[in-house]
Amino acid sequence: MANKVLIYVEQRDGNIKKSSFEVLKKGSELALSLNAEVEAIVIGNEINNLENVGVYGVNKITNLKNSELASYSVSAYSELLNNFVEEADADIILLANTSMGKDLAPALSVKLNCGLVIDCTELDVINNNIIATKPIYAGKALTILETNSPKSIYTLRPNVFTVGQISNSIAEVITKNIDSVNLSNKATLVTKTEGKLDVTEADIIVSGGRGLKAAENFGMIEELASLLGAATGASRAVVDAGWRPHSEQVGQTGKTVSPNLYIAVGISGAIQHLAGMQSSKFIVAINKDKDAPIFSVADYGIAGDAFEVIPALIKEIKKNNA
C-alpha cells in the first residue's frame, strides 16, 4: 500500500529538464490512482521556475540547495537523495531514465534494499499495485514487471510519457540550504556539443546510413535536421566507419529512441537498427532499394535516391514554412 510518491526532478544549468516534466505528470497521476500523497525533490543551486511543477499536479517541491550543487556530483546528489527519501518516507520513487537518473536510482535501491525497474514505457495501477512495462533486447520484446518490496523505484523512458498541464496550481517551494556536500565524485567540466539535440530527447530525428556514401554527405542530413528542429542520428555502419560520432548511433548498440517523427535516410534497416527506433510514433523511410527492411516499419516511404530526394524535401519544407 503506497502512501507517498516522490519525484526526483532533474536540473541542468538551473533549468528543469523536459523529461522531468513527463515524470511529474505521470507521478501525480499514479498518486491519484494509488490514493497517495505526491511531492518532488530537486538538487541544485539557483533553479528557475520551480513553482511551475504545480501545473503537473505536484503541489510541493523541496530544493536542496548549495552553490557546490550547481553541477552534478554523483556522490553528493546520491547521498542527499537517499537521505531525503528516508526522511520523507516515500514508498514510490520516480526518476527520468537519463544519464543522471541511471546513476541515482541504483544507488537509492541499494540504500533502501528495494526493487528498481529501469526504463519503463508504461506504468499502470492494477489492484493498488504498480505494473510496469519495460522493453528488452532494444525493444525486440517487452517485459511486464511487478516488484514485491515495500518500497519501489521506477525510471521512466524520456519522450514516451506525455507532458501536459493538468492543473492551475502553483507549487509550494521549500528551500533547504545544505551545509556540506560530498564531492568525492564530481563532474568538473561539462562540454555541450554546440547547438546539438540528443537523440534520446528530440521530438524529431533525421538519421543517415550507408546510403549517404561518405561523411561529407551528412551536410544535407544536418540541414534537414536544423530546418525541422531535429537531432541527427546515424546507423551503426556509419558510426563504425567513423563518419559520425557514437553519441548519434541509434539501435541495439546505440540508443533506443521514440521521437514523434523518425526520418531514416539511406538506412536499409538491420534488425539492430529497427529495434532501436521502431517505437517512434511516425517513421519516414527514404531508400533506393524498395525492398529494404526499413520500409516494413515505415509509415511513409519514398523509394528513391537520397541525393535527389533530400534536397527536394529541404526545398519543399522551406516553401511550406515561407
Binding site: I118, Y137, V190, L197, T253, T256, V297
Partner: protein, 248 residues
C-alpha cells in the same frame, strides 16, 4: 593493481527474439550467444590499465554453464583468471549485483570495469549497483579513462554532450562504445586460454524484488505506404506529415 572485469553472455544482436511457451522467458532455441558488446570495451580498458601499471585481471560472469564459452573468449584476450558464479535461476539486477559485489570483495579488487549495459535486458545499472554495494566510486558510460596514482579522470557521455569526472579508486567504470578500440585475441592467447582453469562458485543472493509477470513481443507496426518514387513524391510526403501525422 587487482582489476575485475564483469562480463555477460548474451544473445547475438542479430538474433530474432522468440518467447518461450511459459511467456516469461526467452526461447533460447537457435539463439547464438556472444560476449556482451559493451564488455569488449571494458576488457580492453582493463588490459590497457594492466599494461601500463601492472597487476592482475580477473573476469567474473554470473549465469549458466554456457557462460564459460564467453569466459574462455575473455581469457584468450589476455585476462589472467576467470570465475563463473553459477546459477540457472533468473535473478533481478540487485540480486546479481549482490553476488558480483561479494566476489569482487573476495578478490580484493581496486578497480572494476564492465560494459555500461548488457544488450539482453538493457538495464544499464549493474555498475552503479555494484559500486553502491561496495561503496566504490562510479563513472558510468565512460568514453575516456585515465588513472594517475589513485586519481581517476574520466569522461562520461550525457545527453547532448559529455562531462569530465574526477574521482579516486576504488571505483567501478562502465564502458561506453568509443572508450577504446578492442583488440582481437591472438592465436597464442586462444591456445593459452584453453589450458586455463575457470573457477566455479555458488552465488550468494537469490532474493528477487522484481518479478517478470509476462514477456511478450511488441505489437508489430502495420506496414506503411510507399508515398511514391523519387523526388516527385516529396510534396505528397510533406502534406502527409503536416496534415495526416501532424508532426511537422
Amino acid at each position: 593493481m587487482k582489476i575485475v572485469v564483469c562480463v555477460n553472455h548474451v544473445p547475438d544482436t542479430a538474433t530474432r527474439i522468440n518467447i518461450s511457451s511459459d511467456q516469461k522467458t526467452l526461447d533460447s532455441n537457435g539463439v547464438t550467444y556472444i560476449l556482451n558488446p559493451y564488455d569488449e570495451y571494458a576488457i580492453e580498458e582493463a588490459l590497457k590499465t594492466k599494461e601500463s601499471i601492472g597487476g592482475e585481471i580477473v573476469a567474473i560472469s554470473l549465469g549458466k554453464e554456457a557462460n564459460k564459452e564467453t569466459l574462455r573468449k575473455v581469457l584468450a584476450l589476455g585476462v589472467d583468471n576467470a570465475v563463473l558464479l553459477k546459477t540457472d535461476e533468473i535473478l533481478d539486477s540487485l540480486s546479481v549485483a549482490k553476488s558480483l559485489a561479494n566476489e569482487i570483495k573476495a578478490q580484493e579488487a581496486d578497480l572494476v570495469f564492465m560494459g555500461k549495459q548488457s544488450v539482453d535486458f538493457d538495464n544499464s545499472i549493474m555498475g552503479q549497483l555494484v559500486a553502491a554495494l561496495l561503496k566504490f566510486n562510479i563513472v558510468s558510460t565512460a568514453i575516456s579513462f585515465n588513472l594517475d596514482g589513485n586519481k581517476i579522470t574520466a569522461e562520461r557521455e550525457i545527453e547532448g554532450g559529455k562531462e569530465t569526472i574526477e574521482t579516486t579508486i576504488p571505483a567501478v567504470i562502465t564502458a561506453q562504445k568509443g572508450l577504446n578500440e578492442p583488440r582481437y585475441a591472438s592465436l597464442k592467447g586462444i591456445m593459452a586460454a584453453k589450458k586455463k582453469n575457470i573457477e566455479e562458485k555458488e552465488i550468494t543472493s537469490t532474493n528477487n524484488f522484481v518479478n517478470v509477470l509476462e514477456m511478450k513481443k511488441p505489437i508489430a507496426k502495420p506496414a506503411g505506404k510507399i508515398v511514391g518514387v523519387d523526388s516527385s513524391a516529396v510534396p505528397e510526403l510533406v502534406r502527409l506529415l503536416k496534415e495526416e501525422a501532424k508532426v511537422i
